[in-house]
Subunit: 293 residues, 2 copies
């Protein structure tokens, strides 16, 4: 993928501002543990791909948007791994933040990363105040209440779950933010880009459900079978493995079809195809069942 270096550089620039001066050393280290080395960085790649498709006329703003989305994503992983949620002992193949640094610093690391995301955006105001403010508003709406990833996580504490609101908020919201913020960063109207993010988010959820069922812990780098343990809805238990794979293909076809007409349309479709390739579990690819994805 072409944007990996740009994303890592932007994330590291943000991280260094948080670690500067008289920062308490352990929390500074916990922040680094939470964001480096990165995972697949799928969300910021979508953001940058959309920004590029829209002309990317202010790359430093696209950089900030991509970094902010990734920081929020990392924050959500740190808090989701806490003992009171998934109680996950490892993440990305190493100890999760609360295991490495203790619960207090894990709570504070998540809080600090959320704040750092907004600081990263706010620092761009001197380049373009309107775009910066629009980016911040978009990210808050995809992250907080009532429709963001916090709301999504909170549905797991409800006795009766609004399934569509749950999925839209828990996984979809940050993908929608990724595509909308890519457009905003490049000075475009975000509305036509909402569907692309929503569909990639749906696809990601189905792929995640497949991985949770099909993979072992070592391959995945985090605990498996979590949906069954936490009795969370899972596309595989609803549709079966083949049904879930069919659904994944349909959604990604729809995602590509939803890309608005623009200069970078073909390139972006290729990025979505590659994302799909990455999302699809290896065993499914080997069986040829996801051939046409």
């Amino acid at each position: 993928m072409p944007f990996t270096k740009r994303i890592d550089a932007a994330v590291i620039r943000s991280l260094r501002t948080a670690q500067a001066g008289a920062a308490p050393p352990k929390l500074a280290a916990a922040l680094e543990h939470a964001v480096l080395p990165g995972g697949a960085r799928i969300r910021p790649q979508i953001c940058m791909s959309v920004a590029k498709a829209c002309g990317d006329d202010q790359p430093q703003i696209a950089d900030a948007a991509a970094a902010a989305i990734e920081l929020i994503h990392c924050a959500s992983l740190v808090h989701d791994d806490l003992p009171c949620f998934d109680d996950a002992g490892f993440r990305r193949g190493k100890p999760s933040v609360h295991v490495a640094y203790g619960e207090p610093l894990a709570v504070l690391a998540g809080d600090s990363l959320i704040i750092l995301a907004f600081e990263t955006l706010a620092r761009q105001a001197h380049h373009d105040c309107q775009r910066t403010a629009q980016l911040i508003l978009s990210l808050t709406q995809s992250t907080g209440m009532p429709n963001g990833i916090c709301a999504g996580q909170a549905w797991e504490s409800e006795p009766e779950v609004n399934l569509s609101a749950y999925h839209r908020a828990k996984t979809g919201a940050l993908f929608v933010a990724a595509s909308r913020m890519g457009a905003i960063a490049a000075g475009h109207d975000p509305e036509p880009w909402t569907e692309l993010g929503a569909r990639i988010g749906e696809a990601f959820q189905v792929a995640d459900d497949l991985r949770d069922v099909l993979y072992d812990e070592e391959t995945l780098g985090k605990p498996v079978g979590q949906d069954e343990i936490h009795t969370r809805p899972n596309a595989v238990s609803e549709l079966g493995v083949r049904g879930a794979i069919r659904r994944l293909k349909d959604i990604l076809g729809g995602a590509i079809a939803s890309i608005p007409s623009c200069e970078g349309e073909a390139e972006l479709a290729e990025v979505v195809r590659k994302t799909a390739e990455r999302l699809t579990p290896v065993s499914v690819k080997r069986s040829g069942a996801a051939h046409a994805v």
Copy 2:
């Protein structure tokens, strides 16, 4: 105090946007539990008082700034009360959020309130984009790493504490934000207002240390003796009760002296005096020891 109604209205307006639509009901209720009824609302009152002293030419922006500061403060209380920090069972005379709604929703309530603070500010961009962006940057810097309240809390996990960085970040940062953001909201340079916030923050810390030592649990509405239990630095253990009271008076005198020359200078000095009156523990006032504060 004259601003109480304006602050409550602004906080409730923000809260309602977070509870709208398909919000998960328990988290929506937990947010309300965390912010209503309010405590002394000292920080937003300082913000509004400074905005007024600076002319308050865009009251809706001052409202948003005051609400944002209070939301961040409430978020910090929710997270600080968690079992892994103070493990406080009650707050403002009622069960703390994690006791009432469980730990997962308490973590999410804190996260959501942080995000809501920035959303509240970002919604003001159409009134004045520059001021909005400056407010957001100022609030992130007072809240996150390396100098904000998260950094302050993180110093409690360090084996060796940088005491001045600890106090400046843990308590001072949000008071500095309050005075600076009041100035920004009214279109003034925040720099001359930094000292006022810093000094009120110091005074608040000393007053809090006095209350922690002098009050009982029922009067304070939260557990007492926490500094000794958590071996946190406390002005009373350093200076004794009389020494701490002298220090409180000195700091507040300095705070009033630091108020920049402006139209609302006299009125603002009166607000600081009233804040001091409120901060001073009743038993100290009764003994006459803090007479001149």
